[in-house]
Symmetry: D2
Subunit: 370 residues, 4 copies
């Protein structure tokens, strides 16, 4: 198990909690002392998970109210571990009795039962629930405040839902302006409307949709990352694959690079305003596991929500016979919108970790003035 | 830096060495005692990196001869760390004087110079060279022997080079039979021929190609992986992004899953020969970060070799002026074939680590008979 | 900072909380699934910290009531991280305003202020308070339940307070019977009385006393420990030095071994009831960082409580002038009795970690019966 | 096993090699780029292990000649892992056939056989041999060069051999001047002579002696250490207990503090030359796991060499019957002198690690001038 619920080496995050247990929590160890931090700073990030349109999400809407239990004193981080949590209020565990023996297709139910000898908290997926992602957002909120001290900004947004895709890359100001103006977190308002409709259509069919979330990190200095194994892209990919439903990650040209020629894919160096830059950014801002000073561009594939209303084939694990399951409970027809702040947070956590590791963010932010 | 050159928690691998230094080495810590191991076991994996056709690779062909320096006694691993290395014999460092100030587009040169204050060994990319991948293969050879004790097998192969793509998934026996029968490591012999031609064409144009490597792991039991953060897919993705030139990783349906419906993407459970299985395998054998007993299927995007003969734009970093570079040295027009055993090894390393972590492989393999 | 608040590799413990903050907590990651665990199991260990005689302790007596926030489901551990905490109720932060600029001799105040740029929560020592040791006891309670599945038992007890020392090693049944029958946790009842008197004498003089705690671990199988660096003694020593006020640790003959001859210090092997044992136990049960099957014997030196009523010299750090301080607040004239369950817990945590690492305790304890 | 052969988080050291295998090696990962480093820098530390009087050591005198295999380029560290090793030349493995079934009292033989299922390299203790300590010295040599960039100096020296003890603490200049002027590494020349005689006496009796090594670290700034778990004293104690034969570690007043009163043991703060200091140093320079700016003072108990010429009781493990053993091979009648540079190195490794962690030593030392 081996500290499997801790990630990061300098900005290290430990998660705990279950979907239908008492709470979901995150302990952040290694946040430099001297960062101004309030519960409101975290709350406003958590609120981004609350959907603006009830129709496109599950019946479960947690009005999560964050608490900071440790590590902050008189408005500043102290250098001690910061424990933050939200209490579960909307848990309705009885919804899940039916799935005890009937693993839901596309969920971790079966594998978890095997791994934990049946002792795992299976209610709502337990540790495997999307509910857990609130921990990413809590830790990510702290990470983002740290990044802001360097002017680094991380922006995630939806670029595809099912078959509906944005046809060109959005400008940064569109991302800023539009992403949270619609229910699907898409910077293209027109496209957003089509995405919402697609989700409602799938919902009406008792089905679900996936999509693509893209994420860009701006103003990351060159030289961030710790090759060979703690390469920046490697650490970003690792954390992204721990976000439920992620099935693919690519940087820059990504899979498209596989069919380019070297002369097309290489990004020529130029001098831009006295700084080294590249003309194109097929590398997505990362070469050899190190940032090169260009925007870091990441694409993430999110599978369709596995919980659907339609009847599905499964196996009764106690009897070892084939059976069917019709999932009740509450479930989103598309989790992509909720994944947007989670992915943003996950990337921010890795960047905070690496910026401290690289010495870009000091261990203490200034000296306390009385 | 933080043990950035070590990966794995139970089967932990530490790499050292440079492209044009004395050697490339790997220390494997945590290999169970009692595994039969000889230098020949490792050598035969290293030999897979030697190309069968000289035309499609660089002029540098290292006849690497592996040495085991520690951790093996009377033909068995002892439980102590195993240091293996190959000495560099073909290094021609003077080839690289020109690039000291002129970072090669698509390479880590610029970012590394920034990160290490110019102290990095820039010759041939130093630590960032593809040469380093021999360390993956040495450690991977040991991992594969461990996996074999459980009947687990990892198979990587090329499915695309540039625009030439296999049109359907190969059968396991085709992979076994054909992969190393051609220079591009493709299980489809006809496709392989077209791939070779594409590489030669690019080479003649002073250009390079990338491609897709796929990897499948067979007989992995259900329940392997350590969520939330040491999810099996997360750890596989992390190590794959540390392989030079990898720009994208996906599992099962991967990016394609983003446009499927839940009812299409979910893999229904069935009983197959008295065991739980799934009808389809869009999950690629991993759900919630845990193996589910199905084959683990991974696709990896490899960018075209950044070293090309054509003149490219770059910047003289000492003078901060734009300039051009024409790369001499030796370089492969396509590194995909060499990447195949590396990716296979990387996946094997992660699986060995997780199979020990999960208790599937014991800490000592039997008891020594005199 | 680097996960500095996490210890252990398989049974990994993360601490958070401050003396006068909201709570003190511990997250245990890596506890095998299937261990029966209730809040009462932990509560009874916490209660051991409550002194049986008010006179010999500080005015602050926390009636700590433990809560388990995660990782337990229907009475069993699930394999997910277990967060346990106690809320601080008796905190009187205003007691500590005086020490903001006046570091208390023998405390971490000065060094912490330097390290954290003055942002540390200095109230009652913050993270450096003995209050934190409740986290050891919570995690230790879980560790002890795990150890019990193998019949391993850890017993700590006081053998010296100031100049009052036990004159011979106690028998195991004396330890069992007497240790918690007196206020100083000494297995020798007569000696205990003299110790209590010594403490009261020091208290009346506005002074404090230290002492020696010994700890023995029974039934640890041979071969536990992970040399070279995760040697069993090394890991026990490390955790013990993180217990506030510990200044020395020795195993078996310890410092006395330095003046023995090899022929005196070596423990001859014998066959005892069909098992390998040693005639003497100068090694304290550990050789080469591995347990050898004999009882593990540890001695720990505890310094006198640094908080004393007497006026002491110090420096006003804002003005950089010499000054004096008279500590108010509540403080124990001797912390040795409270340290006993803490040291027992700390050793139990390390043993649980290493018994899992060595494969002696499995990752899942059985299979759940409905 | 879990990276059990790696220690340190920023300045991380991985050891490999066996007493009678090919070599003993150390990989240092995380050494900042830009440190001038040559093989001679390491060689001169290794030479400190070579005894100045043959009479008081074993017949095995390795003229170790260090090689740097990686991580250094044009005289400077590059930021990549530094692999250093010495080849074993004096190994005479056949000496050890007799001990295969007869574990030597006081050695790890029995426990290692149990742990590794008999697969361990038992020759000369294999991984458990004092031979391994050359790896500490190689890594320590690099650590010391790093420390020197801050003016931090670590000095170890012998203060007791058997019953012969220095009667007062040596002055720093005595340590500098005398320690390596005698065969026992004692700063008091007269005492050194008595120690040598004691060793020879024990040798003639076929017996062995232990002793005390003290170590002081000068100019360590205040605020070094990472509580709670990576406390500076905790990490120093951990590494010291991995040095073969260490049975006790104490800081400052150590075990003596247990019988002092708080008013005696507390070190009053003063202003000394405009800096905060303490009048006494019972804390040994560490409070709450943090350095306080005073010298760090450590005492280490070394047991007598377990290998002695006298016949000893043991058990034949194959037959499970009691037996005797008379150890042939080569062995030192007292390993304390050889332990001195090892302990110095071990402390230097921890300090280097913590000084990088605390941000006192930067990740890159300057910028390369061509």
């Amino acid at each position: 198990m081996l500290t499997a619920n801790t990630i990061g080496k300098e900005f290290a995050v430990t998660f705990f909690g279950e979907s239908h247990g008492k709470c979901v929590g995150a302990v952040v160890d290694g946040c430099p002392a001297g960062l101004p931090l309030t519960e409101q700073d975290i709350q406003k990030e958590i609120d981004k998970r609350i959907p603006s349109k009830k129709e496109i999400v599950s019946g479960r809407i947690e009005k999560d109210s964050v608490e900071i239990l440790s590590g902050v004193f008189e408005g500043y981080t102290t250098g001690a571990p910061i424990c933050t949590l939200v209490w579960n209020k909307e848990a309705i565990p009885t919804d899940y009795d039916a799935i005890r023996d009937l693993p839901r297709p596309g969920h971790a139910d079966y594998a978890a039962r095997v791994k934990y000898g049946g002792f795992n908290d299976y209610r709502g997926g337990g540790r495997f629930s999307g509910r857990i992602t609130v921990a990413f957002v809590m830790a990510g909120a702290i990470a983002k405040k740290l990044l802001a001290t360097l002017g680094v900004e991380v922006l995630a947004y939806t670029t595809a839902i099912g078959d509906v895709k944005m046809d060109k890359a959005p400008a940064i100001d569109e991302i800023h302006k539009n992403t949270y103006q619609n229910a699907v977190r898409c910077p293209d308002s027109k496209c957003a409307k089509a995405m919402e409709e697609a989700i409602l259509r799938a919902k009406n069919e008792g089905d679900s949709l996936g999509g693509i979330v893209e994420c860009t990190a701006l103003n990351v200095p060159a030289g961030v990352g710790e090759p060979v194994f703690d390469a920046l892209d490697a650490d970003i990919a690792k954390i992204l694959f721990t976000v439920p439903a992620v099935k693919g990650v690519e940087f820059g040209a990504g899979f498209r690079a596989a069919s380019l020629k070297g002369s097309e894919n290489n990004d020529p160096y130029i001098v831009d305003n006295g700084r080294v830059a590249t003309l194109t950014n097929n590398a997505g801002g990362i070469l050899g596991g190190l940032s090169n000073g260009m925007p870091i561009n990441i694409r993430v594939a999110i599978k369709p929500t596995p919980s659907i209303r339609r009847e599905q084939k499964t196996v009764n694990l106690s009897k070892m016979e084939e059976n069917t399951i019709q999932i009740k409970g509450r479930h989103d027809p598309c989790i992509v919108p909720k994944a947007v702040p989670v992915i943003e947070s996950a990337v921010a956590i890795v960047l905070a970790d690496h910026l401290i590791r690289g010495g870009f963010i000091p261990k203490v932010l200034g000296r306390r003035q009385k």
